[in-house]
């Protein structure tokens, strides 16, 4: 009897403890963001002064803007390229299909450091100036697989007769695409884009290599500060970013009830 009780309790306990541990560092950062003291191990009272300082910091503001812009453009570009590519791959049984799929998902299976290295080398070979352009190209490259996989899965599970019915009713291929295919795969594109945005917004490794000296993204700024001297402003910044993430996650789970599942299915990146 006692043994049985213990058995049934253990899984719950395990889940709770591990989840709590996952949130521990996040909570600590949030708590210290309202700490009066500059030394993070000392608690000297509640204060919002770091937030005030954060908003005065021009460099951080620019970095946030850069990261937003980068995330938005990359995820949009990835959405366009990945969606079209997925449709082309699924709807046609051409010979190089398997190879194409492998190539399209290659960035997912490549350690990010290698992506960073090859982009750095290749862009300097081309003579591209490092900055926003190189950031966008490289981020688009590692975002494409997320959209591609999502849309491909959605298309593969889609009844072909929807498109056929539309043609039968008099729609040409273009109309079919805009009236039927696109609305039906829109949720997959959207969730792929959100994942892409999150990946781009959080990327350190690839960005470090291709950012150059002029443009700072938010993760790079935080990374440099963590390596050198940390001011508690970073606590406040991280807390705000966490809040933004929270809103994004909740929004995405509201978009579709199947949202969890799809996202869950798409955790397969090699990004961290």
């Amino acid at each position: 009897m006692r043994k049985q009780k213990k058995q049934s309790r253990f899984p719950d306990l395990y889940l709770i403890v591990l989840t709590a541990l996952m949130y521990l560092p996040i909570v600590i950062v949030m708590v210290y963001s309202v700490n009066e003291s500059k030394i993070s191990s000392v608690w000297s009272g509640f204060s919002l002064k770091w937030y005030a300082q954060l908003f005065k910091d021009r460099a951080i503001g620019t970095a946030i803007l850069n990261s937003f812009l980068l995330g938005a453009i990359s995820s949009l570009a990835a959405a366009a390229i990945g969606t079209l590519g997925a449709i082309g791959t699924v709807r046609t049984g051409f010979r190089g299909r398997g190879f194409m799929e492998y190539i399209a998902t290659l960035p997912m299976m490549t350690p990010e450091i290698i992506l960073g290295m090859i982009f750095l080398a290749f862009f300097s070979l081309l003579g591209l100036p490092f900055g926003m352009t190189t950031l966008i190209i490289s981020h688009t490259a590692f975002c494409i697989p997320y959209v591609f996989m999502q849309v491909k899965a959605r298309l593969a599970g889609m009844d072909k007769s929807y498109e056929e019915a539309a043609r039968d009713l008099g729609a040409n291929r273009t109309r079919v695409f805009f009236d039927i295919t696109l609305p039906l795969i829109a949720p997959a594109i959207l969730s792929g884009m959100m994942l892409s945005f999150a990946m781009s917004f959080d990327d350190v490794i690839v960005s470090v290599f291709v950012t150059g000296v002029k443009v700072n993204t938010l993760p790079i700024l935080i990374y440099t500060q963590l390596k050198t001297g940390v001011t508690p402003k970073i606590n406040a910044l991280c807390t705000l970013m966490f809040a933004a993430t929270l809103i994004l996650v909740i929004l995405s789970s509201l978009i579709g009830r199947s949202g969890y599942k799809k996202k869950n299915g798409n955790t397969g990146g090699l990004q961290t």
């Binding site: 009844d159 007769s161 929807y162 056929e164 019915a165 539309a166 043609r167 039968d168 009713l169 008099g170 729609a171 040409n172 109309r175 009236d179 039927i180 609305p183 039906l184």
Partner: protein, 357 residues
């Protein structure tokens, strides 16, 4: 023929190495209800898709009102399809689904609204405009799918096993309703099914398909009463097919099997004596011979009860299975018993042997 609305001429189609259509030809008249009947893989769906243009054929011609549309894209053809899965667009309301074809034709909104309301009335679902396909029952989806096709007033309506997903009772009801609708609209229907009862009930003419060719094309009574070959006899009439040698007693053609000769009805080209003869006899016409009558010897294999009839399965000395059906539950025969069976001349049709390819 002037009132021919749809014509298929020697349509051939292969998928890879598999030949799925091997010369399909037929002509449908205006307002005709034609059923393509066959089991799965016989090529009936491919034929339908070639008519709609969703599939291209390797050779042959599709004629719509005398015009060659073989190379025309589906959206240009004046035919519409009711899909097996209904294919109602999940992101559109019922009204948007039905109005989609009209919208593509550039019709004005009020006109579309009116047409949608009318066609919903016709399929007996008035007021369903704002529903979503997911909120409908199977039978309702079926009606909406039909409405979406007929609202465009196509020359030919193609129906791909439209009742396949419905339960038996609803199927019967929808059969009657489809027939009514077809008469009312006067549209030519090309209907696909594997259910011979459905085909016999609704069609003006039936094309029985197997292995990409028509086994027989004719009216329901032709198909049922005068099956051309063993396959049609078996598939449409659930008839027994007996094989033996041809023999003649005077002018009368007889089937010789198990040392017994049974007179049969000859067809146009009766075989010479000694050749293989195939005969179709429906199960209700299989009689048991009395002491004094002659009959083909057989052994009772099993008895079962189905659809109000007792089925008695027999096996002849040649190993052929013969089903005899009787009304009532009880029949004084048990498995293993030796019997002799017979049939009357007028119930035994001489048919072509089944094409084995």
């Amino acid at each position: 023929m002037s009132d021919t609305i749809l014509g298929l001429r020697d349509i051939r189609k292969s998928f890879g190495d598999t030949e799925v259509l091997r010369g399909i030809s037929f002509a449908a008249r205006a307002g005709e209800f034609i059923t393509l009947l066959g089991s799965s893989g016989c090529g009936k769906t491919t034929t339908l898709r070639i008519i709609s243009g969703l599939e291209t054929c390797d050779s042959g011609q599709v004629l719509l009102e005398g015009r060659d549309v073989t190379d025309e894209v589906p959206e240009k053809r004046d035919v519409n399809t009711v899909f097996q899965s209904y294919a109602l667009f999940p992101h559109m309301t019922v009204a948007e689904n039905i109005g989609y074809g009209l919208k593509l034709k550039g019709k004005k909104k009020p006109e579309i609204r009116k047409a949608v309301a009318e066609v919903l009335e016709l399929v007996q679902l008035p007021g369903f405009e704002e529903r979503r396909p997911t909120e409908l029952s199977g039978g309702q989806r079926q009606r909406i799918a039909i409405a979406r096709a007929i609202v465009n007033a196509p020359k030919v309506l193609l129906l791909d096993e439209p009742l396949g997903a419905l339960d038996l009772q609803l199927r019967r009801q929808m059969q009657i309703e489809l027939k009514r609708l077809q008469k009312q609209l006067g549209i030519t229907f090309i209907y696909i099914t594997h259910d011979q009862e459905e085909a016999l009930n609704m069609s003006d003419r039936i094309g029985v398909m197997k292995n990409g060719v028509f086994q027989q094309f004719g009216t329901p009574s032709e198909i049922y009463d005068r099956p051309k070959n063993a396959y049609v006899a078996r598939f449409v009439g659930s008839a027994n097919v007996l094989r033996g040698r041809a023999a003649y007693e005077g002018d009368t053609l007889c089937l010789e099997s198990g040392g017994v000769r049974m007179p049969v009805l000859a067809n146009a080209a009766p075989p010479a004596a000694g050749e293989v003869l195939t005969v179709a006899v429906r199960s209700e016409y299989v009689d048991f011979a009395s002491e004094t009558e002659s009959g083909i010897p057989a052994v009772v294999k099993e008895k079962s009860f189905a659809a109000g009839m007792l089925r008695i399965a027999l096996e002849t000395g040649e190993g052929e299975e013969v089903i005899a059906s009787r009304h009532g539950i009880d029949f004084d025969l048990s498995p293993g018993e030796h019997v002799r069976f017979r049939f009357r001349k007028e119930h035994a049709l001489c048919v072509e042997a089944e094409d084995e390819t």
